[in-house]
Structures are given as structure tokens and as C-alpha cells.
């Protein structure tokens, strides 16, 4: 998450240093599933193609109960989106791509530099960094704490960390094999090969497969990590005709918890340092990237004195809202996978039993509700709709993708947006666009979407009509989008005063 922040701040031209107490990208795989919204953020940060080309795309999940298929879901049944529902890529490969992107922007990570002290000051923070050659001090206007689940910065500030620890343990393993399993998420309740527990199989890049086996609270983690224990379990799962090598094994337990607030004056928490969830649903890594996406443009404005520091409060409000949503979904999945009482197990088993013949029960089966972005509908940044709109997109939600033509070439609408405030004007004759451009063109990028076929760099052709329908803009509309591509406001035919007031609200000036 620190790397994502660094890349975003570099793109905003903000001066920073980034330190890591390790000497390399993370060992072991950890997060693997990157959701569509996160991939769109990666596009904005300049390495979306690298991730998608390297990783494995998927959108179908299958849930098995004992030997039979209980439930199947398709996370992106609709065409006309540049990015798939999910791409699986090992965290260390993603981090490698991000380190390279950061280098291309002229920055490097200070490896083996560890923050060991933090003194909060009225106008910033003084951080003590330890290296093998001794200590040094950094005077920072702001500190982003992206130091993970066991955040040292959190401890230095003595912050309260509260939530639920789940009394269960899982074996997590990455294995290398030439498998003929499809690139789908397969989850089993009580499979014949792993009695009494759940199991997960998921494909990653380079013929690496993620396996997750529920072991129960009473298992001995150190024993279960030994290859002589792990290998027979995995062989039972994959069958003897799939030879494999163990790449990485761990036994984990998890909690759903968060800090009460993520912004503490000049110290701001992102990712696992701010909030933690269970792994079922891929909500940890994705929400961390979305934290960075939400924070960096605000921080850049505050550091450049374009917005008051109170703009950072909207980071706190919006990402606490997202953390609550992620914790809620992730806790529900955990309660289904690991029933906490006899009654909850009875109810869970009833759902699984009914799912065979009764379609309604399939939707109750919960092996993880996969990460979707939070729509900040009540955010102080957003302007409430005055005009009627009839589409899933709402103020506060991230803009949706659609295929458009840009300068005669097929392109993604989202790839044209973000990094600065955008006014997206659905306008066939260009008059409204020209008027908004002459008023706001110096501070906001004004682009036009037309139903015609002519396009140039700032006039996109909605050749398939999908942008018009996804934005309910077939009869004209103006969207104001934030630098993180979230909708700040929208109208049918706004006045200059409407746009100015919504812009100031989103910038925290009003």
C-alpha cells in the first residue's frame, strides 16, 4: 500500500521518501486477488497492463458442498469493460511491478530503513529511521503509515485497535503444478478430501496455485506447517495424478478489526495498518489500494495549499465507511465458514443441505463475498442529485467503465479520467462543453462524450451507446469526477454556479 501511495504521490509531483524495513518485496504470496476497481486504479497509476498481462483473469466462482456443486457465481456477466472482474497475481509479483513503476517515475524505495520513532508535532512529524549505518531523522509534513497488520507506527502512537479475533486456523499454501483446473475460484465445504473443514483452490501466475485448508482452532500450527503434514493433505485434494512442489506454507488466524480513526493529525493510516479483515472475499489488499486511491489526491492538494487540511477528514470518513463494509462482509463470511455455536453450525448445514434442490438457498451460501468498491453515498464531498437519474451509478460511487473511441481508436472511458478533476459532458453539438471549458478549463479537465463517431483527445465517441446508458446520459448530462474517479456531482444542465459549488465542496473549500 505504501508503494501505491508513493506512485500516486509521484504522479502528483509531491516530494516524499518511502522506507521499508525489509530488503526486498514481500516473501510468500499473501494477497492474490485484485478486483476490477483495483485494476482500474492500477491503470490510473500506470501499471494496469503489467498486472493484467502477468496475472490470471477470472470471474467465475464455484462453491462445492461435499462432492456436489452448491452454488456458482459470475462476477462480471456484462461486456464492455476494459478490466475483468478479478486478476490473480502473487503479491510479490505485484510489488515488483510497482517498484519498477516507481523507479520509472524517478523514485526508489529506501530498503532496510526502519521507522523506530515518531514524534508528533503541530505542523508535521519527526520520524527516526534506523539503518545498518546508524540513525537519521526525517522532518515530514505528513506520515503515511502503511506498515501492515502489526503496524509499529500504530503502537508508537498508542492507538486502540478493536475488533473480533476468529477462533479458527487455516493452512495456506502456494504450490507449483501443471494443473488442468480452470481459472475459477473453487471453494469446498466439507470436501471428501478434507473431512470437516473447508478448502479453497485458486490459480495464480506461473503455474502457482493457492490452497487454503481449514484446520480448526485446536490444531498445532508448528506441526501443521511441516511438509510431511502438508503434502499428504494437498495430495488428497489434488489427486495423485497432479504432481506438485510446495512454494510457500503458513498457518494463519485472522481478525476483523480497525482503528477508530485513520487520520491522526499529520499521521495517516492506510491498508492493514488501519483495518484488517478475513481473507475470504479478497477485501484486504483491494481495500488498501482503494485507501491509497482515496488519500493521495487529497494529501497532494493539502500539501500544495490548494485545499484546507480538513479535506483529509473525508479520507477518514469515506475509508472508515469502506472498512466497516468490508469488515461486515468479511465477518459474515467467517461466521458461515467457521460457525461459532451449535446453532450457527446447524443453520449453516441447513443452508448447504437445501442448496442442492432449492435455488434460494444457494444465495445464502457464503464462502466469501468478493471485494466491490464502496460507494460513498453520504460523503460530505458529494453533491446530492437535484435531477433524476436512472442508473446504478450514484454520486460518491466510482465512475463505471464503458468502451469509447478516442481519436479514432477503441479505448476505455475510465482510462481518460482521473488524476485531476474531470468534467465529463455528454453533449452532441459541443456547445455545453465549450461553455464549461471557457469557465473551468484552467482548473478542471473538460471532456465531451458524443453519440457521434467523431472523436479526438478530449471528445470521446460513445460508439456502442454504453457510456450513455451506464451514465443515464442519452439525453445529455454533466458529471463532475474527482481525481480518484469517484462521482462528485452530476446534472442534466448545470449552471456555472452549480458546477463551482460542487467543485468547491469536493475540494473541501466550501
Amino acid at each position: 500500500m505504501g508503494l501505491a501511495c508513493a506512485i500516486d504521490l509521484a504522479q502528483h509531483g509531491i516530494d516524499f521518501i518511502i522506507v521499508d524495513d525489509n530488503n526486498t518485496v514481500s516473501a510468500g504470496s499473501r494477497a492474490i486477488c485484485w478486483a476490477k476497481r483495483t485494476l482500474e486504479i492500477f491503470d490510473r497509476l500506470g501499471f494496469g497492463d503489467a498486472v493484467c498481462n502477468r496475472g490470471v483473469s477470472w470471474q467465475v466462482g464455484k462453491v462445492f458442498c461435499r462432492e456436489r456443486l452448491a452454488y456458482q457465481f459470475d462476477l462480471l456477466p456484462e461486456p464492455g469493460h476494459k478490466r475483468p472482474a478479478f486478476v490473480n497475481l502473487q503479491q510479490y509479483l505485484l510489488e515488483q511491478i510497482m517498484v519498477e513503476r516507481l523507479q520509472a517515475l524517478g523514485h526508489t524505495v529506501r530498503w532496510k530503513n526502519k521507522a523506530i520513532g515518531l514524534e508528533r508535532r503541530a505542523d508535521g512529524a519527526r520520524v527516526t529511521i534506523e539503518t545498518s549505518d546508524g540513525h537519521y531523522l526525517v522532518e515530514a509534513d505528513y506520515v503515511i503509515a502503511a506498515d501492515g497488520a502489526h503496524s509499529a507506527v500504530r503502537d508508537m502512537l498508542g492507538l486502540v485497535w478493536s475488533g473480533r479475533v476468529f477462533r479458527d486456523r487455516f493452512l495456506i499454501a502456494d504450490v507449483r503444478m501443471k494443473g488442468d483446473f480452470p481459472s475459477e475460484r473453487w471453494f469446498w465445504f466439507e470436501p471428501p478430501f478434507h473431512s470437516g473443514g473447508s478448502a479453497l483452490l485458486h490459480k495464480q501466475a506461473d503455474d502457482i496455485w493457492r490452497i487454503d485448508l481449514q484446520l480448526g482452532w485446536d490444531c498445532k500450527p508448528d506441526e501443521e506447517k511441516k511438509p510431511e503434514r502438508v503434502i499428504p493433505r494437498i495430495r488428497a485434494m489434488l489427486g495423485s495424478d497432479h504432481p506438485f512442489e510446495l512454494e510457500w506454507v503458513s498457518v494463519y488466524t485472522f481478525q476483523c478489526a480497525r482503528l477508530e480513526r485513520f487520520v491522526h493529525d499529520h499521521v495517516i493510516f492506510v491498508g492493514d495498518a488501519a483495518h484488517q479483515v478475513s481473507p475470504f472475499g479478497a477485501r484486504g489488499g483491494n481495500s488498501g489500494i482503494q485507501d491509497a486511491d482515496n488519500l493521495c489526491w487529497k494529501l497532494a492538494r493539502v500539501v500544495r495549499n490548494e485545499s484546507p487540511a480538513s479535506l483529509l477528514q473525508t479520507y477518514d470518513d469515506e475509508r472508515v465507511e469502506a472498512a466497516n463494509e468490508n469488515i461486515l462482509n468479511s465477518s459474515r463470511s467467517s461466521d458461515f465458514i467457521t460457525p461459532k455455536s451449535v446453532a450457527s453450525r446447524t443453520m449453516r448445514d441447513a443452508v448447504l443441505a437445501l442448496s442442492q434442490q432449492h435455488p434460494f438457498a444457494r444465495r445464502l451460501v457464503n464462502s466469501g463475498r468478493l471485494s466491490t468498491p464502496t460507494a460513498h453515498l453520504a460523503s460530505a464531498s458529494s453533491t446530492r442529485d437535484r435531477d433524476a437519474f436512472n442508473c446504478a451509478l450514484m454520486p460518491g460511487a466510482p465512475a463505471v467503465d464503458a468502451p469509447v473511441q478516442v481519436a479514432g481508436c477503441n479505448a476505455s472511458l475510465l482510462n481518460q479520467l482521473g488524476g485531476c478533476f474531470d468534467l465529463l459532458v455528454f453533449d452532441d453539438n459541443g456547445e455545453a462543453t465549450d461553455a464549461l471549458k471557457s469557465e473551468f478549463g484552467s482548473s478542471v479537465r473538460v471532456s465531451c462524450v458524443s453519440s457521434g463517431r467523431k472523436s479526438n483527445e478530449h471528445a470521446f465517441a460513445d460508439a456502442e451507446g454504453l457510456a450513455g446508458s451506464r451514465y443515464d446520459a442519452l439525453t445529455g448530462a454533466v458529471y463532475l469526477l474527482r481525481p480518484d474517479q469517484h462521482v462528485a456531482a452530476r446534472w442534466r444542465t448545470p449552471s456555472v454556479a452549480d458546477v463551482r459549488s460542487a467543485l468547491q465542496r469536493a475540494q473541501g473549500i466550501a
Binding site: T346, M347, D349, A350, L354, H358, F360, A361, L364
Partner: protein, 63 residues
Amino acid sequence: MTLNSELNIQQPDDFYQALLDAHADLTDEQSAALNARLVLLLANQIGDLNTLRQAIAAARELI
């Protein structure tokens, strides 16, 4: 919808007997499983979350 506390079952004694018959010769564990499945099937038939919440609250009130 609000929870209907007035009689809505057409032949109440027949229903009650059918419910007991379903549990005949079951172990406690099997009975609990049957009840759970029944709750889920009936809840889906009702559908409305507000009504279901009222039913859950009404059942819990008596504990």
C-alpha cells in the same frame, strides 16, 4: 408487511400434527436440523426482511 399474529393457518390442528409427525423418531440433532431447514424454507416464502425481523424479535422476546 407487518407480522401477522392472528391465526392465518387454515387447519391449525392438522398443521401442528404434521409438524410433530415430521419430528417423530428423530434424534435431537436431526430435529434441530429439520427445524433449521424449515425456518429457511418458510423465511424464503415470506421474503420481506422487515416481517422476518419482527418474527425473529417476537420469538426471542419469550426467552
